[in-house]
């Protein structure tokens, strides 16, 4: 029996089994475009009255399935910590400072505009997350992209100056702890984790939806800071290759 034959002897039965399992699963799927499942119908019917939201998705993410989101927050926190530990341990202590490529005035001015615009879009996406499409996760990544743009348009040095590690670390911790603390507040005051304990306000305004608004803001802070930290670790790896970063041809 050759190497290829041995591999095939494993692959063919495994592939056949997978095909059968997938086939069984696919035949039981609801047909395409079926309007609403029971769950979706219940949520769309009751969410506006129960939580005063106009973006139903946010009420699912931060309230009905808020427990899942808490897990995702911690997952993100752990992922950032793992990335930082792994990459920092492989790095030399005495590394040379990166030599920044001088960007032109035109690039810097256009970049300054782009940074402001991107940051605004990010904050806007976070702020109106429970009223219109968007939310803490999406807006957080956009806000982190604004920080990244300072590197593209200006220099690595400038990028590190506007995102000091102590501030970003603190913001990430505050976001993660804030989410869990708001959940605990519900446990203490109302008897169950992530239960709303705040006034719901007038639907369609920024002060409405009670805890959803706060959880959304905490998520925005956590994700923005987490992305900046991950970007910083990878950029740190990249600048070691400067000057003359030319990838090899395969």
């Amino acid at each position: 029996m050759t190497h290829v034959q041995r591999r095939l002897a494993f692959f063919v039965p495994a592939a056949a089994l997978l095909a059968v399992v997938l086939g069984c699963g696919l035949t039981r799927l609801p047909s395409f475009g079926l309007p609403h499942s029971e769950y979706a119908r219940y949520i769309t019917e009751h969410a506006p009255a129960q939580r005063h939201v106009s973006n139903i998705v946010s009420s699912v993410v931060f309230d009905y399935r808020g427990w899942d989101t808490a897990g995702e927050e911690l997952m993100m926190f752990a992922a950032v910590m793992g990335t930082a530990l792994l990459l920092r341990s492989g790095r030399d202590e005495e590394r040379r400072r990166p030599t920044d490529v001088m960007t032109s005035d035109a690039v810097r001015i256009a970049g300054a505009g782009a940074v402001a615009l991107t940051l605004l879009v990010g904050l806007w996406t976070i702020a109106f997350g429970y009223l219109t499409p968007g939310g803490g996760f999406q807006g957080g990544v956009v806000a982190a992209a604004a920080a990244l743009l300072t590197w593209v348009a200006d220099s690595y040095r400038r990028h590190r100056a506007v995102t000091p590690a102590t501030l970003v670390d603190a913001a990430e911790g505050l976001g993660a702890v804030g989410f869990l603390a708001i959940g605990l507040l519900g446990l203490v005051v109302a008897g169950s984790y992530l239960q709303n304990v705040l006034p719901l306000g007038i639907p369609g305004t920024l002060t409405s939806t009670g805890t959803i608004a706060l959880l959304n803001a905490a998520t925005g802070l956590e994700i923005a800071a987490a992305c900046v930290l991950i970007f910083a670790e990878f950029l740190e790896e990249y600048v070691v290759t400067v000057p003359g970063p030319t990838p090899e041809d395969p």
Partner: protein
């Protein structure tokens, strides 16, 4: 009209998905993957899922390419210095 948009969106996703897999050069693959992400965004918009579409935009245009590109450059630099040591 809706059906036509859906068929177009699904087809583009399918074609670009295959393109990502058959592109063997990592740098080029990152670029093709960006187009694949854009196709997914269009699909999510057609399926009326704006929240997911925005998530896909930020992940496929910011987070994913940055991590990939820095890694590609870093690995190339490590390999280059290893080659220099050998010669």
């Amino acid at each position: 009209m809706q059906d036509v948009l859906l068929v177009v969106a699904y087809t583009v996703v399918m074609v670009l998905g295959v393109c990502v897999v058959v592109t063997r050069e990592p740098l080029r693959q990152t670029l093709v993957n960006g187009f694949f992400g854009l196709a997914l965004v269009l699909l999510f918009v057609v399926l009326q899922a704006p929240d997911v579409a925005i998530s896909e935009v930020v992940v496929s245009t910011v987070a994913f390419p940055l991590v990939l590109l820095t890694t590609i450059y870093r690995v190339a630099a490590v390999r280059r210095s290893a080659d220099e040591d050998e010669s």
